[in-house]
């Protein structure tokens, strides 16, 4: 496998070091390899797809290129390869920096990290959608469709969806969004944000929704009192984002979309468990998410209480 990968990579990149398959990622492989003195990372298709609405590697590469061109901090995209030893792949710069959420919240992260998160997101939301015509618009209703595919009763998720329908916000003009913008998908070092990673969920959406995903409790990695991803309060993050975009996102919108983010992740847990149960990706890690979703459902109840629901 490693010899084949090396040969396949040499054919497109010239002489390369021995590729190392990095741990994690059931749906995509990540290989570390060096070529011509450059540290590279190869993202290659794996067995299945995580989600119907994830981008193909080709489109993910194009989003990365657009983000890089507009000065968003991302790994430099190097090359798209339609057939790398039988599967689609792309090559990008290999970034140094911590990406494990649980470690980031325990690091001495610089105070400017929340500001940097706002700054990168403002740049992402200004990406020209016409250059990325394959991006689709997402709606809350899509979550209902996904939930119905499992055929399991989840009253807490239903109640979250009910509240989101009843309290729908005035529609903001959709922009290009990252779709999974949170601690865990950012590379961070002692100077703060190094790069925004994992672009496979990019789509068109309300910018306030993307801004709020990092608030979801599951992505605070055991530091629930710090609402922005376990690293800070939201105020400076929201202020800086509004200053840069002029969107004037209100705190109530964060509350709304934080709840929506929890509903999305509660459904996401079921989707992940389904990958195991359906036999597509057998894995005890995916299986247990079907049960850990109860934590997310509890958070939905907690947020509904804060909205005065009884």
């Amino acid at each position: 496998m490693i010899a084949d990968m090396r040969e396949a990579l040499q054919a497109v990149l010239g002489p390369v070091s021995e590729p190392v398959l990095l741990p994690g990622g059931a749906s995509k492989e990540a290989w570390a390899v060096d070529a011509d003195g450059r540290r590279l990372l190869v993202r290659r298709a794996g067995g299945g797809v995580i989600h119907r609405h994830t981008l193909s590697l080709k489109h993910e590469f194009e989003v990365l290129q657009a983000a890089h061109a507009e000065g968003v901090k991302v790994p430099e995209p190097v090359l798209y390869i339609e057939d790398l030893d039988g599967r689609e792949a792309f090559v990008m710069e290999r970034i140094e920096g911590e990406t494990i959420g649980r470690r980031i919240v325990r690091m001495q992260v610089p105070e400017r990290l929340p500001l940097q998160m706002a700054e990168e997101l403002a740049k992402i939301h200004a990406l020209p959608p016409e250059e990325l015509p394959f991006l689709e618009e997402a709606t809350i209703d899509r979550l209902v469709e996904e939930l119905d595919e499992f055929g399991e009763p989840h009253p807490a998720i239903e109640l979250g969806l009910w509240w989101l329908r009843e309290n729908r916000l005035p529609r903001r003009e959709p922009v290009v969004v990252h779709g999974d913008y949170r601690i865990g998908n950012l590379a961070v070092d002692e100077n703060g944000l190094v790069a925004v990673l994992d672009w496979e969920f990019a789509h068109l959406d309300d910018p306030a929704r993307d801004l709020s995903f990092a608030l979801v409790r599951a992505w605070r990695f055991g530091v629930p009192e710090l609402r922005l991803g376990g690293i800070a309060d939201v105020e400076t993050y929201l202020e800086r984002y509004n200053e840069l975009t002029g969107f004037g996102v209100r705190p109530e919108e964060l509350d709304y979309w934080e709840l929506a983010g929890n509903v999305a992740w509660a459904v996401g847990c079921l989707t992940q468990a389904q990958r195991h149960l359906s036999g597509r990706d057998r894995s005890v890690e995916l299986a247990i998410l079907g049960r850990l979703g109860a934590e997310v459902e509890h958070e939905i109840c907690h947020l509904l209480e804060a909205q005065g629901v009884t």
Binding site: P153, P155, A156, W162, V284, I288, E295, H298
Partner: protein, 99 residues
């Protein structure tokens, strides 16, 4: 409640992991032997679980359908939350202690 994965489906996932991913890496013959014994024991657990009647989720189904139809009134959230807490006491008891 038929929460998935069911207890048997979880045991099956553990069995596949141990037999498929861990066992082949064990070089120590004693560890290999004990792993085979453990897998045997897990088989007993699974067969015992298979004998249990499936849990009745009719009440939860009805509640979910009523909420979907917009029939939400005072007390609905309290009822939903109590059920989630019952599940958490099995799925993640530590989570309830954090608040």
């Amino acid at each position: 409640m038929t929460e998935r994965p069911t207890a048997d489906e979880l045991a099956e996932a553990i069995e596949e992991f141990l037999a498929g991913e861990v066992l082949p890496t064990l070089g120590d013959p004693r560890a290999r032997f004990r792993m085979l014994v453990a897998l045997n024991a897990l088989g007993i657990v699974r067969r015992e679980l298979a004998k249990l009647p499936p849990e009745d989720d009719a009440e939860q189904r009805e509640l979910a359908a009523r909420i979907r139809a917009g029939d939400v009134h005072a007390g609905t959230l309290a009822r939903v939350k109590a059920h989630v807490e019952t599940r958490l006491r099995i799925d993640s008891p530590g989570y309830l202690e954090r608040d």
